[in-house]
């Protein structure tokens, strides 16, 4: 076997092309630096690889999910929970579900576009409740970058003057849908705050390169037609490619970060999945953005004389403090909406309203907050449509007529029409406490099909998260009642099932495995996402997060990646890198 060394020497070699890698590639390329962008998945062009505006009958499985598209046949993301030939393991008695997108742009092609700034308190939670660790930066450090991300990428929302849900540069939000007006009413009775959602979707023109949302509700298919939502591909990578400063290498599975005798990073060794040959590419800096766990795996697999415990891991913190958002959900029907009038209420791809955390934890039995996401209404039929109607049509009278549950025929057709569009649901997404013992490490016995040692996960929820889920469920129950909804699923929560708390990893907000900090003994990166142990190595994905607030992490990944990239440019000018 031969290793092919690329002759071109880059200013930066970036691993991963999602939010963190895309922003780094964009920022560096625009500044004139030469960038090599490695992506483990396939090349993908949103303007050619289209699933948007397709009808359910165009899919032989009618939009059902597959191993390739766990979120449905029209979802834009390639792969997810189960990647062929790339296993991972778990310590006995622990759970972790690991989502891996394998395509240019990664998960940003299908994500929920929920774009929430962390607030001032979110960077200093240890000061408030004594748990976890403070970030080495504060809101004032990141605010200018949030502002610029808002303006560069675009986001709708409203300035509400809420201390921990900071104002930004928002485009106007869409008006609430019908079921959202009922949610708003129910929430008001329960004292739950509801405000317009904050999604990176263009409700007005932002620039000449991108169009405006036309309300098909299909952001998870990526906006091929108008580029009106944020994906790394549409908004960062293809524009960066136009500079001519980037070489994208798809199907490049990184094996190891290469280092020299001084312990500095020199490049990346990778397998090209197309020809299964081994390659090396070198650069002045190496930037990891392969997803929190994948980046940590790379570091742990990059052992050398200077870095015997894995690269940038003298602290033994790489892989530790792994945490996901908490999640619990409940769904039901709004009987007021039975037999409702039909009209197009697709709206944007996601909720038009949401609930930011509204309570004070000092008065509660768990330490951190959560926000609530909502859904419901008349969505596009897909596989599973009308499923379980036998649990509905005996429970509720149809047009005044009480029927026997189940059935068939013309009467059943009437039932499907009667119940369509009356569903409503909500889910909490909360902040978990990052714990030292919650980690991923290298499994000593298992390799993937490329011969790369795989991750072994060892993560358990603590009472903090379980009690938070209990609060979510009790709140949802009350809100459902207050809006007049009948709970049809998620109502069976108790101590034995952790109050419906999703297993860790399921919410796909993995973070914390190469955390930032000011002390090199207890953190991997400094406040510029730069490795304490290796000054020309940066990690710009969720791994860098000291904690992840009750806010979806993408907007903060983007802001930190922009900040780190500008730091790299400045340090290069000073000849420090």
């Amino acid at each position: 076997m031969q290793i092919k060394k690329q002759s071109k020497h880059y200013d930066a070699v970036i691993v991963g092309s999602g939010a963190g890698g895309g922003m780094a590639a964009y920022t560096l390329a625009k500044a004139g630096l030469k960038v090599c962008l490695l992506e483990a998945g396939a090349m993908y062009d949103p303007q050619k690889n289209i699933t948007q505006l397709k009808n359910p009958w165009e899919s032989p499985r009618r939009g059902a999910s597959t191993k390739f598209r766990p979120f449905g046949d029209f979802d834009a993301c390639y792969y997810g929970w189960d990647v062929e030939g790339e296993p991972y393991t778990k310590a006995p008695g622990t759970e972790w579900d690991w989502w891996r997108a394998r395509m240019l742009g990664g998960r940003t092609n299908h994500w929920g576009r929920i774009s929430l700034r962390f607030g001032p308190k979110d960077f200093k939670r240890k000061d408030i409740d004594g748990l976890g660790e403070n970030w080495p930066i504060g809101y004032e450090d990141i605010k200018p970058f949030y502002d610029r991300v808002d303006k560069l990428i675009g986001i709708f929302g409203t300035n509400e003057g809420l201390e921990d849900h900071p104002d930004g540069f928002f485009l106007p939000p869409p008006k609430p849908r019908l079921h959202e007006l009922f949610i708003q009413k129910g929430a008001a009775v329960s004292g739950v705050k509801v405000i317009p959602s904050r999604l990176s979707i263009l409700t007005q023109k932002l620039n000449d390169e991108r169009g405006v949302c036309f309300f098909c509700g299909q952001c998870n298919r990526n906006c091929s037609m108008a580029k009106a939502d944020f994906s790394s591909t549409n908004v960062l990578i293809y524009p960066a490619l136009a500079t001519g400063n980037i070489d994208v290498v798809p199907n490049a599975m990184a094996r190891e970060v290469l280092t020299n005798n001084e312990g500095l990073a020199t490049g990346i060794s990778y397998i090209n999945k197309d020809d299964m040959m081994e390659y090396q590419v070198t650069g002045r800096t190496v930037i990891l953005a392969a997803s929190a766990c994948e980046s940590s795996r790379l570091l742990l697999n990059s052992k050398s004389k200077r870095h015997p415990n894995g690269l940038a891991n003298s602290s033994d913190v790489v892989g530790r403090y792994l945490h996901d958002s908490t999640g619990a959900a409940m769904g039901g029907v709004l009987p007021q909406l039975f037999d409702r009038k039909r009209y197009n209420e697709d709206g944007v791809g996601g909720m038009h309203i949401y609930s930011p955390w509204w309570l004070d934890n000092k008065k509660l039995d768990f330490p951190r907050g959560y926000h609530i996401e909502y859904w419901g209404g008349m969505s596009q039929p897909a596989y599973g449509f009308g499923g379980g109607i036998e649990g509905m049509n005996g429970k509720f009278a149809v047009r005044g007529q009480q029927k026997e549950a189940g059935g068939y025929g013309k009467s059943l057709k009437e039932d499907y029409r009667y119940f369509y569009g009356a569903s409503v649901g909500m889910a909490g997404r909360g902040e978990a406490i990052p714990l030292y013992d919650n980690r991923c490490e290298i499994d000593p016995n298992v390799v993937d099909k490329f011969g790369i040692p795989v991750l072994k996960f060892n993560v358990k929820w603590s009472d903090h998260e379980i009690l938070q889920a209990k609060h979510m469920k009790e709140t949802f129950d009350e809100m459902m009642h207050n809006m007049g909804a009948i709970v049809t699923w998620g109502g069976d929560y108790n101590k034995e099932n952790n109050y419906g708390l999703e297993s860790p990893g399921k919410i796909i907000h993995e973070a914390g495995t190469a955390r930032m900090g000011s002390d090199p003994k207890t953190s991997v990166l400094n406040k510029y996402n730069q490795a304490h142990d290796c000054k020309n190595l940066f990690v710009v994905d969720g791994a860098a997060f000291t904690s992840q607030a009750d806010k979806n992490i993408t907007w903060t990944i983007l802001a930190l990646s922009m900040r780190a990239s500008e730091y790299i440019i400045a340090e290069m000018k000073k000849q420090n890198l």
Binding site: T51, P60, F68, Y78, P176, C216, G386, E390, G406
Partner: protein, 219 residues
Amino acid sequence: MNRRETLKLLGVGAISGTALVSGCKPKDDKGGAVTDPEFTYDRAKEELVREKELLAQANFFSKEEMATITILSDIIIPKDEVSGSASEAKVPEFIEFIVKDMPQHQIPMRGGLRWLDLQCLNRFGKPFRECSDKQQIELIDMIAYPNKAKPEMSQGVAFFNRMRNLVASGFYTSEMGVADIGYAGNSPNQWNGVPDDVLKQYELAYTEKQLKECVKFDR
């Protein structure tokens, strides 16, 4: 199907020998049609390989099983004033595909159909598909209502629930079914909020704040 057509269908080079053999089965064995493998929407490379394998597979259901599925589908979703029947919407073909795509349906479906035939043989001396309309409905009435079905019919209830769900999935995702249910989206538009008459119907209104801050369009 000759070899060249097979290769064209499957994508040259990416397929194992066994798949090539099974790819020829439909016409040789059971006369099932090979579906056009062209997709109108994005397929990743490995995904397309699997799609073509799936579409080239021999039919799962026998002719007799398909006949029963077709009768059941049209009992569940018959033609009415609004739309056509399940078989007109090609629901049986959808079910044939989905059991290949989701193998977890295969045993319950095959076994459920067999269960049904045995019930009919014992009662009427004929398999379900050969029974009179009246006999068929007599049997279906024993399994279509979960709360009043006799305990000894519980396996039939489980089968009919699955069948009802699959037929609903197939029908309401067809062009005819989407029109029937009245889904009005999947087309470019300008969302201006809930229509006024609907707001009025539910005695709801947007707040001043919402009217001021939300995006609006002149129509």
